[in-house]
Symmetry: none
């Protein structure tokens, strides 16, 4: 007598056959139904059983495959909206090479939209490189808003002139922030934030349809230090308070909580608010940024990530 097990394995055999005819021989499910002498629906069920039981192995033979896999796993692990992994140069896994092309792609995608959008931007090397990658286009319908002040401590304009360059290229209206990154006192900050144009900038930032920010790390060669926004003692004090990274000046710890620290109280940038519908892209890669990136994701400071293979792997460990 035919046991349950036999039936089962007979069914799997049929599924394998159907799967083979479908995926390898390229038959339609109609043809398979005829050849196997079952109804079309049954053939469909067999094919789908074959895939669900993983009888059919699909492989993608292209270097991108690994990146896609990593992106998928990161999306799952950190609940991201978007995630893009660019291949690492095995010789220079720390390099941010390639991030800019990918980021530029996403920025252009936003800009191609017909309906008017508000796009906000941080600063930094990676974003500047992104903007350099963007093709000139004509998007007067969009508004480009800076999240962060463009005044260097010495009063000069920021060297990473992200939004000006971008606005130039794509002919969109832009709203820079004529502010320092960190005000000299809480009083000054208050006063600055009460200026009409600044207020309206902050309001725009709040309503952003998409945001693109770099993620800085704290510690040696921290960008906030190298660019002169913080001095060595600031950095040390922040590190002692648990700082691992920074986005548009807001310093956060390994869980992604904005530090309760006097320096954070003077940060003049727009607050980091996330609407889960709208992407907030973090762009960063490299050994030194790993804790910062992980924190930013855990604390929901960003919901979309662009990084490289090496960094992605490290983010998946632990």
């Amino acid at each position: 007598m035919a046991t349950k097990n036999d039936m089962e394995s007979q069914r799997l055999d049929d599924a394998a056959r159907a799967g083979w005819l479908y995926y390898v021989a390229g038959n339609t499910q109609d043809e398979i139904a005829i050849k196997l002498g079952v109804s079309r629906q049954s053939a469909q069920r067999l094919v789908s059983l074959a895939t669900k039981s993983r009888l059919i192995k699909v492989r993608l033979d292209h270097p991108i495959a690994r990146c896609m896999e990593l992106a998928h796993r990161l999306t799952e692990k950190y609940g991201l909206l978007n995630c893009e992994i660019v291949p690492s140069d095995p010789g220079a896994p720390d390099s941010t090479l390639g991030l800019s092309q990918s980021g530029a792609g996403y920025i252009e995608q936003q800009l191609r939209a017909k309906e008017p959008k508000i796009l906000t931007f941080g600063t930094g090397r990676v974003l500047r490189a992104c903007v350099a990658q963007i093709s000139t286009m004509d998007c007067p319908q969009h508004r480009i808003v800076s999240l962060v002040g463009n005044m260097m401590p010495d009063g000069s304009a920021s060297a990473y002139n992200v939004i000006n360059r971008l606005a130039d290229k794509v002919k969109a209206v832009h709203y820079p922030m004529p502010l320092p990154v960190i005000a000299s006192s809480i009083e000054e900050l208050k006063m600055l934030h009460e200026q009409k144009p600044i207020k309206s900038n902050l309001e725009l930032a709040r309503r952003a349809d998409a945001a693109f920010v770099g993620i800085g790390h704290l510690g040696d060669h921290a960008p906030m230090y190298e660019d002169g926004f913080l001095d060595a003692s600031d950095v040390e004090s922040l590190l002692r308070a648990g700082a691992v990274g920074e986005i548009v000046g807001w310093v956060f710890d390994e869980k992604g909580s904005i530090l309760k620290h006097p320096l954070n109280a003077r940060v003049a940038s727009a607050p980091l608010t996330i609407n889960p519908e709208n992407p907030v892209f973090g762009l960063a890669a490299g050994q030194s940024k790993i804790a910062a990136i992980r924190g930013a994701m855990l604390g929901n400071l960003i919901n979309s990530l662009i990084t490289n293979e090496y960094t992605a792997e490290r983010l998946l460990q632990s």
Copy 2:
């Protein structure tokens, strides 16, 4: 500036991405279109490009009971080392569809070995299809040797460029045979075989760890005839002498004995020697090849077989 090549490879990247999202991640083409920021039709084209460019490799990983059974009986009957039967498309039992996936599996298995191996290859449609199925990998430790000349009668290089393509994909050293398949005279053959590089190729072939050859039939549509290595009168003369098939040019009868025939005396290919420890795979299927396959097995010209269900059944009759 973006070169044509860049564009091309960018497009393949996108195709790979789309293919991954479709086949691995199970997205619909609509979703892919949104994620990649293109129209649905373009997404469809990318997916289909991914399959057409053979970026997507599908294999069936299930021992279909009937095929296993057939393989087992063939192994017994003909004393084989390996035997793999792939399902037949009942509508096209003659087709060699599927052999290539299976063959590719065995070839990859050999290539995955750490210790250096010498692998030898014949030519033909099926082997070419096998090579197309193989994933790119990095195996500089192995040597890939051709058993058969790559020069067409008109002096051009063989259309089935099996070992070049393979070596390309897996980055192994390769040793083509810069020879015709059949020399114009015994003297010429002698002379050719005395050339140093050819001699060393033949020596490598003798020491092969595994061999993969197609099996050709003689008669109507014989590959040796269609590819211009033999003319109609040659074929007729060979058939009169009892020819049923051919491997890398060596023509044999239904018992698998290499024919004593003037044409065989001019075959420039490496001799078919079998070390019973090492697999010599024959790949072939179809009505017209049955006598040839049976001969090859009886005469110990091969000791491993990859064929399809239909052919396996016929080989077990009689």
